[in-house]
Amino acid sequence: MNLSNLKNHRRRSRWAEGILSKNPVFVLGLALPFAVMITDTLKQAAAISVLFAISLIPSVLLAYLIGKRLPEWVMLITSSLFSMAIIMSCVAISSPVSTLQVVGQAAAVPPPEAANVLFPLIDQAMVDPLGIYSSILSVNTVLCFLCRRHARQKQRPILALADGFSYSLGFALALCLIAAVRELLGVNQLWGFHIPFPIRLAGMQMAFSGFIVTALFCALFRAVKRAVGGSYYRRNNRRPEKEVSMP
């Protein structure tokens, strides 16, 4: 059995494994509360994804630095508190106008006079509907998974950074996909813009549809992952053609 192609593929994809092959939501089954509850609109999904990335990457780097010096449970508590501090800082400095809001409304919203050139990525109008889930980000299971991985094993710091980025992107991809489907089918909108669509199901904005849509995407990712893995395997392990004997 020749697995060289598959092994090469896995080695190359280690840097971006969090995006697709080990997507934290669809493959590893982590951070499910956000996938289920914060995906009724694309704006909320984008806001929580930005907060997630901003809190995850420095926390994983902190875990890498302190993980070998402290007991595991102390390291996890420290990382979580650090993550909460970052989230509260973002919430405290979030301004009334954000880049995402301006981009979404194109030229219709003029920037306020006192604003800086670079707006914060999220604003209060996007953070407030997140409710308790913005605070719960500090105890999400993706943070636990990555902090443990980089505290225990002898990894390079660049891998900790790459994992932080790739898992954040994977999380954002998962939530935005679920949110896009739920918003489109639920209220026939995407990012607040009306999209004419023949199907409208009010139940898509409820919690149960978050579970169901997440389940369907998990199954889809699993099928695609199997197909891709299978194709790499079959490239090096072609079945010999049977010789057809003529009578």
């Binding site: 590893l28 089954g29 982590l30 951070a31 499910l32 509360p33 996938a35 289920v36 509850m37 914060i38 449970w73 996890l76 508590i77 979580s80 508190l81 909460m84 509260m88 919430v91 405290a92 400095i93 509907p129 997140l130 409710g131 308790i132 889930y133 605070s135 719960i136 500090s138 105890v139 999400n140 299971t141 943070l143 636990c144 139940g203 904005q205 409820m206 919690a207 149960f208 549809s209 978050g210 579970f211 169901i212 997440t214 389940a215 369907l216 998990c218 199954a219 889809l220 699993r222 099928a223 199997r226």
Partner: protein, 202 residues
């Protein structure tokens, strides 16, 4: 008498109508859903319930202090409550960890892997923050935390039973494991929504 009524009403609401997993998705993760035995599930649920209750007992004076000194800032009162709740939860965790390790080593090593599941379980934090958002008093918050823990345990047992029955069915390969389990939980959540009748606020 009123205290008992509000305590038990809050507990029942948290266990059924505002179930941590079915209504809010709190504490959902693959590790928790794939627990192998009933005994470990009950231990996890019991541990989480005690953890939440002790955290409320510790955090309540802190909430009162915050409310008395808060004069408006960039951070809202709810954000300050979140920070205080998280710190209190970790203090309770550290105490439980160290006390069991020092005085009950057999219990400590039996529960060692459950400690990991409890530490980063958002059900405890979520339940306390939800009760604070509703503006509950001390007794009602305690009842809500207790009910949330009991409801969470019952949900995990239901999910485990569902997993056993699904294992006997022929499930398409792509749906085996977590996808079919999430569908099962989604259908239960639909039933809870049918009882409540509206989406709960975040």
């Amino acid at each position: 008498m009123n205290l008992f009524v509000s305590f038990f009403t809050a507990a029942l609401t948290a266990a059924v109508l505002e179930n941590a997993i079915f209504a809010r998705g709190l504490g959902s993760s693959k590790d928790v859903f794939m627990l192998s035995s009933v005994r470990r599930t009950v231990w996890l649920g019991g541990f989480l319930t005690v953890y939440s209750l002790l955290a409320v007992l510790l955090a309540w004076p802190v909430f009162l202090l915050i409310r008395s000194v808060y004069h408006g800032s960039r951070l809202s009162l709810q954000n300050l409550y979140s920070v205080a709740t998280l710190v209190c939860l970790f203090i309770v965790f550290a105490c439980l960890f160290l006390i069991t390790r020092a005085f009950f080593p057999k219990l400590h090593y039996q529960l060692l892997d459950l400690f990991d599941l409890v530490l980063y379980n958002c059900a405890a934090l979520g339940a306390i923050l939800t009760a604070l958002r509703y503006g509950y008093d001390f007794t009602t918050t305690l009842g809500f935390a207790l009910g949330s823990g009991i409801g969470y345990t019952a949900t995990l047992l239901l999910v485990r039973e569902g997993r056993r029955r699904i294992a006997l069915a022929e499930v398409p390969r792509a749906f085996r494991g977590m996808p079919i389990l999430l569908l099962y939980i989604g259908i239960f959540s639909l039933a809870i929504y049918g009882v409540v009748g509206h989406q709960l606020p975040t």
